[in-house]
């Protein structure tokens, strides 16, 4: 039995240890907000937080999350909207929206580590693919979320 925590909920599952976390979330825990698109950790549509770090769930065997904390888009806000989700609405970021849950999770992880990322840091970190081309708005929303410098 494999045990870990998803969105603050303890889960215990009897699944193959090599099953990627993505499919455990989507098909066994009914959390479809995390998306499949490439299956080879290139596109980032499956991005979730693992102990606070952004990881690509499509290429992560579920055995590697045993005993650890997973947060998906469904568990991002305790109730209502996370501030990143609010910024995404404010800046009307999504178009088709398919990649956006992964994009939001990447942005949450980035801002947690780096409250005021530069354009270069956004470029280096936000490697999620978006076929609709929402990149300019993603950048704008992240900048809008930046914590103002202390003191000033």
């Amino acid at each position: 039995m494999l045990e870990f925590t998803v969105n603050n909920r303890a889960v215990a599952l009897d699944v193959e240890p090599e099953m990627p976390l993505l499919w455990v979330l989507r098909d066994h825990l009914d959390l479809p907000g995390t998306k499949y698109s490439c299956g080879i950790a290139v596109c980032g549509a499956c991005t979730v937080l693992l102990d606070g770090e952004a990881v690509r769930a499509c290429a992560l065997p579920v055995s590697r999350v045993a005993g650890r904390q997973v947060v998906t888009i469904e568990g991002l806000a305790q109730d209502g909207l996370h501030r990143v989700q609010r910024a995404w609405i404010e800046h009307q970021v999504p178009q088709c929206g398919y990649c956006q849950t992964g994009m939001i999770m990447s942005a949450v992880a980035l801002l947690a580590k780096n409250p005021r990322p530069s354009d270069a840091e956004i470029d280096a970190t936000m490697s999620n693919l978006c076929r609709c081309g929402t990149y300019a708005r993603v950048r704008k929303a992240i900048h809008a979320l930046a914590t103002p410098p202390a003191g000033g």
């Binding site: 993505l22 290139v42 469904e74 076929r131």
Partner: protein, 715 residues
Amino acid sequence: MTTALSRRDFLKVSAALGGGLALGFCLPPTVGAAGGESASEVNAWIVVHPDDRVVIRIARSEMGQGTYTALAQLVAEELDCDWAKVSAEFASPNEHIRRQRVWGSMSTGGSMGVRSSQDYVRRAGASARHLLIEAAAARWQVPASECRAVAGVITHVPSARTLRYGQVAAEAARLTPPVEVKLRDARDWKIAGRSLPRLDIPDKVLGKPVFGVDVSLPGMLHASIAQCPVFGGRVRRIDASAAQAMRGVKKILREENFVAVVADSWWRANQALKKVTIDWDSGEHALASSETISAMLRAGLDDPALPQARTLGDSAAALASAAKVVEAEYQSPYLNHATMEPQTCTAWFRPDGFLEVWTSTQNGEASMSAAAAAAGLPLDRVEVHKMMLGGGFGRRGGPQDFVTQGVTIAKALPGVPVKMMWSREEDMQHGFYRPASLVRLKAGLDAQGRLVALHTRIACPSILNVLMPGSLKDGIDFTAVRSFSDLPYAVANQRVDYALRNGHVPVGFWRAPGQQNVFYRESFIDELAIAAGKDSLAYRLAMLKADDKNRLVLEAVARAAAWDKPTAPGVYRGLAMADGFGSYTAMVAEVSVDAQGQVKVRRIVVAIDSGHVVHPDNCRAQAESNVVYGLGSLLYQENKVKNGRIVESNFHDFRLPRIHEMPQVDTVLVPTGGFWGGHGEPAILPLAAAVCNAIFAATGKRIRSLPLSLHNLRS
């Protein structure tokens, strides 16, 4: 006078036909969930709740282009309701058929969503407002002409009495709709024309299950499929013994042209599929390659007996007497749509003999037809639940292969819902690709450098031949010749020859079909301007009549990009224009090319005249979207063919641009009124030429084939 059933009558009929589950399939979820009994359908487009909430039915699909919101705005504008109380839902394809196609077209492509339904959706809004006012007037026993409706409140002007839409909707629903309604002038719009928050975005940022792949039903199983890697091939035999024993596997299906594994999770189905040994009969195209396809196109160009898509004047004589003749060949490769959400279809053959389908489709009605055909059921025994699309770009409109497959698989498991999803590899290798094409251009210039003759020979697979066999007139597929067959420039002698050469690779409408021709044409015009020693803006303007709308967008983009001023050091500009999908577009690209030959597209300035603008911010979002979609195809995307199959398999060898490659996009909306143009595609049209013309300015190298990754631009 329409004989459409009222919603209440329809429910009764459906209940009689469909039994106890009828309510589940025929009531779209929003109304059903909100307690449909008390809500009133004022007309097919508009449902009003007693608390004034308004549900607007949307017939077109939503794939990111924003018409789910824009069409609701147009309806709400004429209805004159409170936008804060508006939500939208997709119209049911089953109900659509039963009600004599009451919602017009469900097809979502060609940037048509707003422009080809704006008239009837606005009429629906205006008609409903009229009925609501009539109902209030009847309640008050006053003439309707003494009543006004604003923001969902009807006022009897002389007495200042008011009623809300929700209070009179039930009565309004029973009245006869007016024959004629007057639509508002765009100058008076209060809801349309504004950048209102999109209705679909909150659910999308919350990760709610809105997409086809998100469908989850009690007892549902999952399917993964493998189709013959060589287009047109078949399954000869399979050995499924190893797969059969794998955990979670429920069924293995061998169809004529695909194998499917059904399991209790998609990953298990896909793992087991990899263990099925499939012996494919690859058929007659097993040796086809990019080289044989190029040779086929080249032979087409050399065919002396091609049909003409356009003849004007005498191009042969004009070329013979021209002061200067310029010739060039241009080409481009096959391209996959690469929607982020792979093709998917969930199907459930219910115990009562009714089929329900959930899919991400650009055409709910086409999906229903495909499902009914695969199921062997009449249309009224099938419902398609239209889900949000994780991208469409033309892949999910004409071709409904994924619906046929999903229904075929579920048919083998009656009573069990089955969700089929393609792997990315399957999706990359079984598309309906943007056609590869090869074009030969020959231009004659007079002594002043003016273009007096243009002879174009186009070898290109026909999309219509694939999607609508038998629909071609005189051997011409207009989607393969446009931008030349309808050349906007005043050129006295023109000839366009078309070589229809299809090969075995399926082709389809890829965002802005025919855009390759704009790349060829606008790059070649740049070559001609240089040959004539003219500025490329002035050269184009000289060939456009004073009132040509192409001229207006050219002038607008030139102003916005400061075409008459020098660029910063190391930055080079290119210009291109195109009209298409109802709109006029002109673009300036600013690029840098470093010593290693790396191209950086720094800024795109685009001017668009779409006549009217329903949602300015979304039009800008679409321009950004077009730029990024076009940029990938320009920089590095290509689907090659080897041994009859597509070589690329996933995003590692079919790259999509990432955030660091996104240029600054400055969109200038210059709507001149009087017509309705699209926004989903026009801004992609001039992109490749604008960028390649800028690359020529930077390097002196003329790019005549795409993608750029094939070219060495090192200085």
